[in-house]
Symmetry: C2
Subunit: 199 residues, 2 copies
């Protein structure tokens, strides 16, 4: 069923009309390919081993993307908030099963499109393609920065970076997951917070 | 000075004619924007704080990309070998000073192009643009996999992955840098190699 504009989050409309610069007619054309998904808190949007065939714009909520090791340990690569695109990028591109798990940390609302439809749309509307390329370049920068951060910063420096980037994160994500993202024990994170906030 | 084809490495010609699919005339047009650079072993192609304005195709040799922490510790994000593109991708895109150091691990040969010329070329020759977008997507996948690996694999698993990906690495890169890449002490890497090779 084609979405009515009243069902579409305002920031998604703003993204396409203002940031990407589509006309109203072009936006209506694009919108035909999108559907809404709701992922309740703690539910999974994606599990490792699945093929990720769709691109999802996170319009509300927060998710965590993580991998697991052989012992079942979980390793958070990213949190995503409003205006992020979520998915297993490699699986989307290659059509092969992915390695990422994506779980809702809050009730999440997504605007989704099939990869194949996104490709068609990008050919029809080059403005979308240009925007998507720029978005992927920024994703590369974010991934490289995160890698550099994981390799070279101390837990305290990583903590400081995190609260600068996402000041609201402690209101939105349970401490245990933030500790997992920072690669420290929850108790150490609590102590770190007390020490820094108590300064 | 415009390069003569005899000065251009064969795999660079193959990349443009076979992989990207340019005609001879299109390749001649593209080639006008490229120049060669030679970086002797141990010299730096790029230092943190510099603005990276060019895209470099590594046609021979091997480099390491690393960041430094406040105490001067070095953290290797990637090694690059033949057919990689090297540079500080975020600095190239934003025009701001970068955070990466790139040092030659062997005598390196590069084919370089100014970012602004690459942009022009991509507009003139859409085949180059398509290829470059796909290359950047693969760079994103590599970065995400490396992040996942750093977060979730044990040193032994990271070691095994590395020698599967780059079987020749111990012949090309000194052990101390491989240890740095794997985030283990050089002595531990020596022990690990003996144990695994002695099996």
């Amino acid at each position: 069923m084609i979405l009515d504009r009243s069902q579409v989050p305002q920031q998604f409309i703003d993204l396409f009309l203002n940031t990407i610069g589509l006309t109203d007619e072009e936006f209506e054309l694009a919108l035909k390919h999108f559907w809404r998904e709701f992922i309740p808190k703690k539910f999974f949007y994606l599990k490792a081993g699945q093929i990720c065939r769709q691109i999802a714009f996170l319009t509300k909520g927060c998710s965590r993307s993580f991998t697991t090791d052989e012992k079942g340990g979980e390793h958070i690569l990213f949190f995503a908030f409003e205006d992020w695109i979520i998915g297993d990028m490699e699986s989307i591109q290659t059509g092969k099963p992915g390695v990422l798990n994506i779980q809702a940390m809050e009730d999440c609302e997504l605007m989704c499109i099939q990869k194949a439809d996104m490709d068609k749309l990008e050919n029809q509307l080059p403005k979308i393609k240009e925007w998507h390329i720029a978005k992927q370049q920024r994703a590369l920068h974010v991934a490289l920065r995160r890698l550099s951060e994981v390799k070279s910063l101390t837990p305290e420096e990583r903590y400081n970076d995190l609260i600068i980037k996402y000041p609201q994160i402690f209101q939105r994500v349970p401490l245990q997951y933030i500790a997992m993202y920072l690669d420290i024990e929850p108790q150490s994170l609590s102590r770190l917070r007390k020490r820094i906030c108590g300064k």
